[in-house]
Amino acid sequence: MPVSDNDVADVSREPVAVDHHESTLRSRRRGPYDGGPDMIQLLDPEGQRVLHGGAEEYAHHVDALTPEDLRGFYRDLVLVRRFDLEATALQRQGELGLWVSLLGQEASQIGCGRALRPQDHAFPGYREHGIAWCRGLDPMRLIAMYRGVDRCAWDPAEFGFHTYTIVIGNQALLGTGYAMGVQRDGAVGTGDPERDTAVVAFMGDGATAQGDINEAFVFAGVNDSPIVFFCQNNQWAISEPNERQMRSPIYKRADGFGFPGLRVDGNDVLATYAVTKEMMDRARSGQGPSLIEAWTYRMAAHTTSDDPTKYRFSADVELWKLRDPIARFKTWLAHEGHADGAFFKAVDAEADELAARVRTATVEMPDPGMDEIFDHVYVEPHAQVEQDRAALRAYLDSFEDEGVA
């Protein structure tokens, strides 16, 4: 069931009137499929603020945001989704080798990404386009990778954003080691907000089965390292549901490794922001690691190579459309008077521009040359690599001599 633009919840729909009391009750009655009673939610699917049931502790982070900040969140959500849809389309047209859609997970990523400070460092998987966006990475960098032009050619130090990691779980250990370095630099618990630093490492629900993830929990716990493990539970690891990956909810895993674990509504940008902010602050102040499970849903196929009709019901997808992260936030923004029609229109226009820019830049992106194979295999040259470089060059030259290529 490939997802097209039409499948996405209609962002332009009008605010629905729901009274707060009802909403609060509903959130208390949440069953396991809606995230369960422990899930922290600040904004319910109807766009109403949730005032009880675990929300209180985190609300102050949202209260501290200006309307401009909040409009910024909305802009991020819309632009990232639009970028993602454009990339999916480009893949369909043969311009990309593959695309990994974040459709449905925008609020998990924008809320989290906006809770990071410039000095923080993020360790993504391969679907963290929203985090990349918040870290200031040009989206074309992601396109280049999925087009097969490079393998992640940005400088992580420049953006506080590590290269994408495809081998499931590896990045959690890299992030933990980085956080150990932060500790050794004395950049934790100084009280200086420009200095205190934390790391966030991303993983999926399926990834929690990997040895590396659990070893990262061990190392971070033992060393009290300033790292937040951010797990986007999008309910699926390709075709496998949570039941095939774990026997206990993900957020409960943390306790046995000696640090707190929380579940947050991953489709609620206010909640993911507030909870990440809280846990990153905690890490920066020297109180050690934590695990955040963002309860969300992978609305698209696993990647453009996948066909989810083989293993899941479209009814589930329909259900989750009702929990769309952008629609609810728009409803609330409008209801609170933080944004008006003109703003929403301007964002849509910006999204169109972004999509157009991405499309043009993709189609015009040049292929790498032969040296890309040999450059940067090592810092200092390696004789056998250089010998091969020379051999390939001579070989290619021989065609030119012959006038063949």
């Binding site: 087009r147 393998r151 040895g211 990956q245 083989k310 056998q384 690599v385």
Partner: protein
């Protein structure tokens, strides 16, 4: 009895799994997404529906766990066929493969047998992102206690996989993923006379021997066809097994042609080509008119897919290797 059928390598592998599971209730399949989805390449398609979740198991996303539990299942008398989703994801299982799978038979002086087949879709040429195009056979061939084979066509896919499952030794079974959809005639009823570990001369010739396996067999056959037009007679050997190595077949050919070119996708450095070159040179020293030439992936990590064709041996590079062998 079914007549010979035209089918792809992918379908032949699926048919082989089905046949092996029908023949022996101890045969199990496990891996990531092998159940409802039928695997990302559909090699296990419909098997879960027909054999149930106990025999076709979607595992948690953890390769060491997949391998370790497969070994445990074998200890209990099962014959697990493990699917590693892509070549680059076998490394988390490396410890279990090297320390347990390869060694429990000798550790226990033969008391333990581990009839485990590890299926790995291997190699490049499909325009994939990193880690999805690797050729890691050298690691496993260097690991004594394992046997390492490659299928290169639908018939071998069908029969070799069944032979591998029937074998009591642990086998790394490589499938050339970029050839999954190439078709061929498969006789589903007549078992092959060829042993799983024997090489096959797939084209006879007299000037130069080309030794290859997996996805490179087609490339070498294509090269031999072009060379023939240019008046050169190349003998192409599909090694099929890289551990053990069928030296008699190789040696007979090299004694005849006097020249050997080894072709594989993996980087040459400490690769299979090195072993073949060293071994053949030692046993055929006086027959060789030229050093053994290696045409392989370059000594570098697999590049971005836009330039993978420059990295991988292709028809022209094979012929260039032939030229170099003939230049001596």
């Amino acid at each position: 009895m079914m007549a010979a059928q035209r089918m792809t390598i992918a379908k032949a592998l699926n048919a082989a799994l089905r046949k092996a599971m029908e023949a022996d209730p101890k045969v199990l399949v496990q891996g990531e997404d092998v159940g409802k989805l039928g695997g990302v390449f559909r090699i296990t398609e419909h098997l879960q529906k027909d054999f149930g979740e106990d025999r076709v198991m979607d595992t948690p996303l953890a390769e060491s766990g997949i391998m370790g539990t497969a070994i445990g299942l074998a200890l209990r008398g099962y014959r697990p066929v493990v699917e590693i989703q892509f070549d680059g994801f076998v490394y988390p299982a490396f410890d279990q493969i090297v320390s347990q799978l390869a060694k429990l038979h000798s550790r226990s002086r033969g008391a333990i047998k581990l009839p485990v087949v590890v299926r790995i879709p291997m190699g490049g040429g499909i325009g994939a992102v990193e880690h999805h195009s690797e050729s890691n056979e050298a690691y496993f061939a260097h690991t004594l206690g394992l046997k390492v084979v490659f299928c290169s066509n639908p018939t071998d896919a069908y029969w070799m996989l069944q032979q591998a499952i029937a074998s009591d030794d642990p086998i790394i079974f490589y499938e050339p993923k970029r050839r999954y959809h190439e078709k061929g005639e498969v006789d589903l009823d007549v078992p092959p006379t060829l042993d799983l570990f024997s090489a096959r001369v797939v084209r006879e010739g007299s000037d130069v021997t080309l030794a290859c396996y997996g996805p490179m067999v087609k490339t070498c056959l294509d090269a031999a066809a072009v060379a023939a037009e240019e008046g050169r007679s190349l003998e192409v050997i599909d090694l099929r097994s890289v551990s053990p190595l069928d030296m008699p077949t190789l040696e007979a050919s090299v004694r005849k042609t006097g020249r050997l070119v080894v072709v594989h996708e993996a980087s040459g450095y400490v690769g299979m080509g090195a072993e073949i070159a060293a071994r053949v040179t030692e046993s055929c020293f006086y027959s060789l008119e030229a050093p053994v030439i290696r045409v392989t992936g370059w000594n570098a990590p697999y590049p971005p897919s836009k330039i993978e064709e420059l990295f991988l041996p292709d028809l022209d590079r094979v012929l260039d290797g032939v030229d170099r062998a003939l230049a001596h």
